[in-house]
Symmetry: C2
Subunit: 394 residues, 2 copies
């Protein structure tokens, strides 16, 4: 059974004067309206959110969705959490709810309101998605965990710090610059890699050596929502719909110290499985939105997708492949780095962006004649991994 | 497609010298062993947990399940949260994963380690499952929310405090006494309603008027786990298996102040739907495990199940129906009141208890020739509601 996207909504990302509750209502209503259905048509609701408890003192957020519309009252609603991949986790649950016959139409909301806390508070809440006894409790924050990847990559492939920094600056510059076209992005900024590398330390300080400010994604408030249904129902309502051709989910050990620190082992597997399920190869992809929570993770994602061989991810940049005019543009939206990264919303945001690209209604830069796109969303230091393939169908 | 239970495990409930991680490993390994399968046979893992973040600084707990067995590495694992109904939420997801064809065999773990915090800390974390802006942030704790039900019930049905207290004491005494036979229970205690009512205030203090200490469930560490699969596969492995004949899930407004405070409106609907799906009536039930997080909620559950008419739940006790020798024993295990209530584990614990009853291997008091049992699990102040019907099949 094919599963398709009937409606989408994407809020502004940034430091917003909106509550967690406002974001749920705005995105939920937006997606229902875009789907062209009534609230009463929805059979189940799935909410991706990392830590309403930590950020907003609000666990058990799913029932709040009853406030989206009075006709949703009594609809089963469930909160799903897999750290920064919570949004994709919610999509997976909604998809299975439909495939199992328990739901015909499902609403998925990804949401996070991070700016209720100060930076120190945010860092602490995020660190709880590491393996706390060996990582968070030892003072290793998420910049610290991804610094482990940067250090592991340098060591394994014998890269100098300068060589790696030059690559990461290109990723940061590309994503900030792409975001200029995205009206919903948090930090649009026309900038070059040289400008980033030439910044004085105080303008681009080390966050966790070797990662600097321009390597880190943002602290963001925002939400995104999808209405999913069977492809059959979707096609009966809309002329052109986008199908989830594959969703694959792999899990690795929670602690980075139990696994490889120079590649996304489980992420590679997720991508491989997604390609197989969708019956496609890398060459079929017209764009990808990948999880650049830190620039090093976009580099690792190039290799996980197979855009460049292991240890040579830089070629994706140097050969122009991942730029807007390239063969496989990556993060046309600006990515987590510049669009923003409301952690529990990110997987849904990626799916909304992919859908809109495929419908020719991109939020930001439009890929030309895009027919197939991929989203790659990770949770924690890539312990949770999701790869989704989206296809335009008629 | 029928979904059956292939294996179960239930840890000791109480104040344990075990970590959140220990409990996951113990229950996961126990259920796999009981199922008679290999870890490599498991296709997906679903973890019910309310607030690893709040209680243990650990969000993103699902990937920790990779530590249960090396062959689980890369298996998709997902954390599901609907407050004190998180365990049932995880069962629902696992069931849909199988029904959708994405998994053949799924592992479900419900777990909570509450005693890392002191009472004040626990109360705060739990209060985050209320609607924080109008409830938790105003100092209304969970005893406070269920006190609203007690007060609402007295007002709506014109009960005196003494009359209500006498009923609630019977529920408390029944459950504590039932727990005497349950080797895994936290607070087995042979006691009568009279003894509870005659306790001096300092031995049974008011927690949140009118609820007293003997009306409140416990602060518990514990876990329970299930292996689920299709009934076809289950029957190919075991002679006698227990099937999930129905699972229904309803959601109501998060805040009790937006809904009725003298009945479980959405809970009633969940039970009604479960009976219909399973093709049974109340008369077919041989036992029930219901959500007595506070004694008032067991009283309301009698009415939600239809054991007694609205406003006359006391008859379930006075007519002997819900006692071990009655027509429909409720909480033979001792319930949340006496077995203990590790919040995210409770729904899975109930399912394990029901399964073991139906296999004639009860943990605690065995219902005679039980063929059909029900579990009724709620989250928050009954915003999330799950009713499951279990049937023994050959």
């Amino acid at each position: 059974m094919g599963i398709s996207i009937l409606g989408t909504h994407h809020t502004k990302f940034g430091r917003l004067n909106k509550t967690l509750y406002d974001l749920i209502i705005e995105s939920g209503r937006g997606a229902i309206e875009d789907a062209g259905i009534e609230a009463k048509d929805i059979d189940s609701i799935w909410v991706g959110n990392l830590s309403g408890g930590g950020f907003n003192n609000q666990e058990h957020i799913a029932p709040f969705t009853m406030n989206i519309h009075k006709d949703l009252r009594f609809t089963p609603a469930t909160h799903v959490e897999n750290a920064c991949a919570s949004g994709s986790a919610a999509i997976e649950c909604a998809k299975q709810a439909i495939e199992s016959g328990n739901s015909k139409i499902a609403l998925v909301i990804g949401v996070e309101k991070m700016n209720d806390l100060d930076t120190k508070g945010v860092t602490k809440v995020l660190a709880m998605s590491s393996y706390w006894p060996d990582e968070g409790s030892k003072g290793i924050t998420f910049p610290g965990l991804f610094a482990e990847y940067a250090k592991g990559y340098m060591k394994h492939y014998n890269y100098s710090l300068d060589k790696l920094r030059a690559i990461l600056a290109k990723i940061s510059a590309k994503n900030h610059t792409n975001a200029v076209e995205n009206p919903l992005a948090q930090m649009p900024l026309k900038i070059t890699a040289e400008e980033i590398l030439n910044k004085p330390d105080e303008k681009n300080p080390i966050v966790y050596d070797p990662l600097r400010l321009f390597d880190c994604s943002l602290v963001t408030d925002g939400a995104a929502a999808l209405v999913l249904t069977t492809s059959e129902i979707a096609k009966s309502i809309k002329n052109e719909v986008v199908e989830i051709a594959a969703l694959s989910h792999t899990t690795d050990y929670l602690s980075i110290f139990k696994r490889s620190n120079y590649e996304l082992t489980a992420g590679k597997l997720a991508v491989k499985k997604a390609f197989k399920k969708a019956g496609i190869t890398l060459d079929d992809l017209d764009f990808a939105e990948v999880h650049d929570c830190f620039t090093i993770n976009e580099l690792l994602s190039y290799e996980a997708l197979g855009i460049a061989p292991d240890g040579e991810g830089y070629r994706a940049l140097d050969e122009g492949i991942v730029y807007p005019e390239g063969k496989l543009p990556v993060n046309l939206s600006g990515g987590l780095k510049a669009k923003g990264h409301p952690v529990g919303a990110t997987g849904v945001s990626m799916a909304v962006l992919a859908t809109r690209q495929l419908l020719g209604k991109a939020i930001g830069i439009q890929a030309k004649d895009a027919e197939i796109g991929l989203t790659f969303n990770v949770g924690g230091s890539a312990a949770s991994n999701y790869a989704l393939v989206f296809k335009r169908t008629k």
